[in-house]
């Protein structure tokens, strides 16, 4: 029987992670993400998992990567400034193809900014924060229930694609408490990483299987000897300067995800069928947007709602199709325009875009978005 809980968003991510089989957490406290670490500190030792508070965020992600290399499903969690600090080693995890879940509970920036206020200013950092190219998978939940669910999905994707997966939450969601119906174990899938079946001496840690273009991964300590490096490497895992090997490796970092784009992309819509205006929003803002859209509908305005649940890869094609039909988009964000760039790129001029920025530490109110809808509808 599904259990009902009244959790904080942060706790829900932690509980989702535990449900997904996460047994390693390395991190460093920072508002408004600290509760994730705190729940893990209490739960992991009780599950024979490993919790360690490291000396800083850089070490936090490094330890988590280490935990993953040694065979655990691993996570780290942080907020803006810490997310910036984690970028270098996040890059290592992409390059070395180490499964990992990284949570960023967004707060106001830049810099120390507004530690206890909501913002959505790390959307682009999630995609582009580290040097060098790689594909990004980033979830943006908008309810405490969904925090639990995307945590499970994030681990599944991380283990499947052997790479870091991000969860972009925000201060309101992270600190909000909300009813969660904890699903029964049978109702969700758990993906574990693919292990090699070959003899240790012929194990090639970066040679993708032909069926799925994804390489299996051994753990340190389970009988395989292999090399991990942040240098560009060949299929054996050793550094290479051979242009063909380089191109093969780096292209695979993009392709392994791009090829499965449709398995990954997730979004939610409401009332888009006949909409003349679509409000595109994510995270906590999407809740306001939905309120506003429903209010507008109740006033007879043909307005729809589009919410990317996965921010990266961005649901560009899907949005483009809807945008073309509707003709007008409104994109409210708690930043000076981040996702809107991606929206603009996606729709190729086929819809007019109205951007709404709010950067004052607060969440949009439904009336603010409703007003904009009415203005655009006029």
């Amino acid at each position: 029987m599904p259990r009902v809980e009244f959790w904080q968003g942060n706790a829900s991510i932690a509980q989702g992670a535990l449900a997904a089989g996460c047994r390693f957490f390395g991190g460093y406290p920072i508002t408004p993400s600290s509760e994730i670490a705190e729940v893990m500190a209490a739960e992991l030792p009780a599950h024979n998992g490993r919790f360690i508070q490291m000396e800083d965020e850089i070490a936090g992600i490094a330890a988590a990567i280490g935990g993953s290399v040694a065979g655990f499903k691993a996570m780290t969690a942080t907020s803006g400034p810490g997310f910036s600090l984690k970028q270098e080693n996040l890059g290592l995890a992409y390059m070395a193809e180490i499964p990992l879940v990284v949570v960023d509970v967004m707060r106001g920036g830049p810099s120390t900014g507004l530690p206890t206020s909501i913002a959505q200013q790390d959307v682009m950092q999630a995609r582009w924060g580290t040097h060098g190219d790689h594909a990004t998978i980033a979830y943006a939940p908008s309810s405490v229930q969904e925090c639990f669910e995307v945590a499970i999905k994030a681990f599944n994707m991380a283990e499947r694609f052997r790479q870091p997966v991000l969860i972009m939450s925000d201060e309101v969601l992270g600190h909000m408490r909300e009813k969660v119906v904890v699903p029964d174990r049978e109702t969700y899938t758990i993906v574990n990483r693919k292990k090699p079946s070959c003899a240790p001496d012929v194990f090639m840690p970066y040679k993708p299987d032909p069926e799925d273009n994804l390489p299996p991964m051994a753990s340190f300590g389970d009988g395989y000897r292999w090399h991990i490096t942040g240098l560009t490497h060949n299929e054996w895992g050793f550094p290479t300067n051979c242009p063909e090997e380089i191109a093969k490796k780096t292209a695979r970092l993009m392709d392994k995800v791009n090829a499965y784009r449709d398995d990954i992309v997730e979004f939610e819509t409401e009332s888009v069928e006949d909409a003349r205006i679509i409000v595109v929003a994510f995270g906590s803002v999407a809740r306001t947007a939905l309120s506003a859209v429903r209010m507008a509908r109740s006033k007879g305005l043909k307005v729809g709602y589009f919410r990317p649940i996965v921010l990266w890869p961005f649901p560009d094609r899907e949005l483009e199709a809807l945008a073309e039909k509707a003709g007008k988009l409104i994109v409210p964000e708690l930043n000076y325009g981040q996702m809107v760039n991606e929206v603009e790129r996606s729709v190729h001029g086929k819809a007019g875009i109205t951007q709404m920025s709010l950067v004052n530490g607060e969440l949009f109110q439904p009336s603010e978005i409703l007003e904009k809808i009415e203005e655009v509808a006029r």
């Binding site: 909300e178 009813k179 969440l363 009336s367």
Partner: protein, 181 residues
């Protein structure tokens, strides 16, 4: 019930308004099978300054999570009263503490000035349980509105408070409940 019922607790840091809202949310979600969302505002002024916590309950889904026009406000200090009373929703109720709120600005809302702090201090013997008294008051109001059984709220209180303190908290809750009689 309306689609959405918004409750706000406001006071100074240390009066336990956040916990109060959490307990209401828990009662709604776990003991009543309703939907509920609780939010709060943090900020450097949290220490000793104004503190505010809200809970929205609904049979349907709750999108916007914060209170815009609270149906019920329980206000435990003057500063909060001055700032928040005007936001009360149409037909809403405001309960103020009669020790710390001396003047209530003009409002269309129904206002009850109750000895919440005094009850905690004098009847229960510990100002610390002010929020439990406030929850008792809340329970009565929600019961009257047909939104929630007082028993659910009491159970939620007992599930939350530290072991060994059940009795004193229950007492506070009951005294609060009686205040609205």
């Amino acid at each position: 019930m309306r689609d959405r019922y918004e409750i706000r607790f406001a006071g100074s840091g240390g009066q336990g308004v956040i916990l109060a809202a959490v307990v209401v949310g828990e009662a709604a979600a776990i003991f009543e099978g309703l939907n509920s969302v609780q939010t709060q505002s943090y900020g450097p002024e949290a220490r000793g300054g104004k503190s505010k916590s809200e809970v929205v309950i609904s049979r349907g889904s709750i999108d916007y999570p914060k209170a815009t026009t609270p149906d019920l406000q329980i206000i435990l200090n003057q500063a909060s009263c001055d700032e928040f009373i005007a936001q009360t929703g149409k037909g809403g109720i405001v309960v103020v503490d009669d020790t710390y709120v001396s003047s209530v600005p003009e409002t269309e809302a129904q206002v009850f000035s109750l000895p919440i702090v005094k009850t905690a201090r004098e009847k229960v013997g510990r100002e610390l349980v002010t929020n439990m008294v406030a929850l008792g008051v809340t329970a009565k109001i929600l019961e009257k509105k047909g939104l929630m059984k007082a028993e659910s709220l009491k159970q939620a209180v007992l599930a939350r408070v530290p072991k060994g303190t059940e009795e004193i908290n229950e007492k506070a809750f009951i005294e609060g409940y009686k205040l609205m009689e």
